[in-house]
């Protein structure tokens, strides 16, 4: 039985290909950036976002009409989209930029996402086909900026729920109950759709894509676009002057027992 007309959910999940969290990063000798010839994978917070979209479908079933993944990056970023598709996204969009181009700044990313959403929603035959929920990671572990979701919500004028640790969607009422992790504890909100959610660590534990799903993902569609297609300018607003190593912390001091430890603490004025 098909859920009634105005009660469907279309989810967009932006994902980013980033240096893998376990890599020991090294600053290049020219101090212009880090050595990127290392393992990359989907930003862990974005994995949580994809997982949450898939879980929403498991809970709400046919009410979740579409889960679309989207990424901005060079050709290699298609791997990240395949991972999202293998985890359960239906289709994907690849905004392709040249290999040599710098990673777009968050405001440019937010403008791109807005353009994709507006383009899609303008073409939507019915109200129920419009994208009304965006779930993305709270920050990417490379630049650690953590601003894109809020910027997108601001550009669209949508509700926002950052650092979400729990989501409960009421499709009938077009409302989402959110629990957020904040300084000092937690906060509960009720947000009207459409909504931008940014994920925090404890929202869920992402699944590993099974081999059958990885195979199925190869057949799922990936639409290719460029920033020019969407009319977004990627000229950076910041100039990176230098990337340097932080002051080195030399550790390794050892004590053999509690008495020696106490002595060291006293020495330090504790």
């Amino acid at each position: 039985m098909r859920p009634s007309a105005s009660r469907l959910l279309n989810i967009l999940v932006p994902v980013k290909r980033a240096v893998d969290y376990a890599v020991k990063i090294r600053v290049n000798p020219q101090q212009t950036g880090i050595d990127t010839n290392v393992k990359h994978s989907m930003n862990p917070f974005d994995e949580i976002a994809v997982e949450e979209a898939v879980r929403l479908r498991e809970r709400l079933k046919a009410s979740v009409t579409s889960i679309r993944a989207i990424t901005i990056g060079p050709a290699k970023s298609a791997d990240t989209l395949r991972t999202a598709l293998a985890m359960g996204a239906d289709s994907a969009i690849h905004i392709e930029i040249p290999e040599s181009a710098p990673s777009p700044e968050p405001l440019a990313v937010a403008k791109t996402l807005r353009a994709v959403i507006e383009r899609h929603n303008a073409k939507a035959a019915k109200e129920e086909d419009k994208v009304d929920l965006v779930i993305l990671g709270k920050q990417s572990i490379d630049d650690d900026l953590g601003v894109t979701g809020q910027m997108l919500a601001g550009l669209l004028g949508w509700s926002q729920a950052t650092f979400a640790s729990k989501l409960e969607v009421d499709v009938e009422k077009k409302e989402v109950f959110v629990v957020r992790e904040i300084d000092g504890g937690g906060e509960e909100l009720r947000c009207r759709l459409p909504l931008v959610v940014t994920t925090d660590l404890r929202l869920n534990e992402p699944r590993y894509a099974s081999l059958p799903n990885i195979m199925k993902a190869k057949k799922k569609p990936i639409e290719k676009l460029t920033p020019a297609d969407l009319g977004v300018d990627y000229t950076p607003m910041f100039e990176t002057l230098k990337v340097a190593e932080p002051p080195k912390r030399v550790g390794g001091g050892k004590v053999a027992n509690v008495d020696e430890l106490v002595a060291k603490l006293r020495e330090a004025g504790i």
């Binding site: 969290y21 020991k24 600053v27 880090i34 700044e105 968050p106 405001l107 807005r114 709270k138 920050q139 490379d142 630049d143 900026l145 601003v147 894109t148 910027m151 919500a153 601001g154 550009l155 669209l156 004028g157 926002q160 950052t162 650092f163 992790e181 904040i182 300084d183 000092g184 504890g185 906060e187 509960e188 909100l189 009720r190 947000c191 925090d200 660590l201 404890r202 607003m237 910041f238 100039e239 990176t240 002057l241 230098k242 990337v243 340097a244 190593e245 932080p246 912390r249 550790g251 390794g252 001091g253 050892k254 027992n257 509690v258 008495d259 430890l261 106490v262 060291k264 603490l265 504790i270």
Partner: protein
């Protein structure tokens, strides 16, 4: 269309910066139940370093605003205070606060907007800046402003603090929004100051799209983790919530320390998420950081490697934490910690 309005805003703001101007920073001074947030006091120090005027913005409900304004008048570095009161401002929701910020920033000559890297300011500032077609830079650790060129150069950590990035925002960024890392700027103290305060009409949002239901703060008599000079932190080795508490709290008590936790300990439910120290939790730099049963993953180190004295206790001699610890003890923490508590009491 939003795009057109954003372009208009940017052009309008750029027009007022044709000639070099003295900086004028708007600092979001946050408070909880009338108590000023330490992070905001660090933001104030950062704003002062820009040179020029510093206006503090205080918002909230009628219950607290006046008290906070009185305290702010005495703060070093504040040249003027703006305050706005509304029941809608009782909780810092970005959707209800943004219109006020946008109005203040569109109609005046602010060059910078500064806040703490608090969960509320982090949620608000980028929303506002995007609507004004400007970027927000997070977690700034140092800054330098050049009035002649109206450009500001910032440093901030990237890749979980394993690299430091120096970036410059030129005059083409008409308002520079940024949040500051609390441990990088001394919280502003009292000065011989008495800034003028001016009330600003709130901009109430009709039928707000987001409604606050409840805030739950993990209360404790212990010092606040974000500003404590001593921290005792536990990892996954602490078995369960009761063992975490019974092992760490006596040590924290005898040291007068705050309690922290690794991500693994929080994920496993041993401690509240507000105690998480790390790349995506709190960044602390106390005089003393004790890591008990914490292996020392990159993401945890990101949150504590600027601590003055790092002590680690772990059963595993190969735990990465020992590489950054000044004092390391390879031992079973359940045997050693009670002994340590006893000996410290003497």
């Amino acid at each position: 269309m939003l795009r057109t309005r954003a372009t208009f805003c940017r052009r309008a703001l750029t027009r007022s910066y044709a000639t070099p101007t003295s900086p004028h920073a708007l600092v979001f001074l946050e408070h909880r139940e009338g108590v000023l947030d330490s992070g905001s006091l660090s933001a104030l120090t950062a704003a002062e370093q820009l040179g020029g005027e510093v206006s503090a913005l205080i918002v909230g409900s009628s219950e607290h605003v006046q008290g906070v304004v009185e305290k702010a008048k005495k703060l070093k570095g504040v040249t003027s205070i703006l305050h706005s009161t509304s029941p809608q401002y009782a909780h810092p929701l970005p959707e209800t606060l943004s219109p006020l910020f946008e109005k203040l920033l569109s109609s005046s000559t602010y060059t910078h907007v500064v806040s703490a890297t608090s969960s509320s300011a982090k949620s608000l500032l980028p929303r506002v800046s995007a609507r004004l077609d400007a970027p927000t830079l997070s977690d700034v650790t140092s800054l330098e402003h050049d009035s002649a060129s109206n450009s500001t150069t910032f440093t901030r950590p990237i890749y979980a603090g394993n690299a430091i990035s120096t970036v410059k925002a030129s005059a083409s960024v008409p308002i520079k929004f940024f949040t500051v890392r609390g441990t990088a700027f001394e919280p502003a103290g009292e000065g011989a100051n008495s800034a003028e305060a001016r009330a600003v009409d709130p901009i109430e949002v009709e039928n707000p799209q987001t409604v606050h239901i409840k805030t739950t703060i993990a209360t404790s008599d212990r010092p606040d983790l974000g500003i404590a000079s001593r921290v005792v932190s536990g990892g996954r080795a602490l078995k369960n919530a009761d063992t975490f508490a019974s092992t760490l709290y006596p040590l924290a008590d005898v040291l007068g320390a705050a309690v922290g936790a690794s991500r693994a300990a929080v994920d496993a439910g041993y401690a509240d998420n507000s105690l998480q120290v790390g790349q995506t939790g709190k960044v602390v730099a106390p005089e003393l950081y004790m890591a008990l049963g914490i292996s020392g993953a990159i993401q945890h180190l990101a949150g504590m490697k600027d601590s003055k004295l790092i002590v680690a206790i772990n059963k595993d001699p190969d735990a990465p934490i020992f590489q950054v610890a000044d004092v390391g003890l390879v031992a079973d923490l359940f045997e050693v910690v009670p002994e340590l508590v006893e000996k410290l009491k003497k």
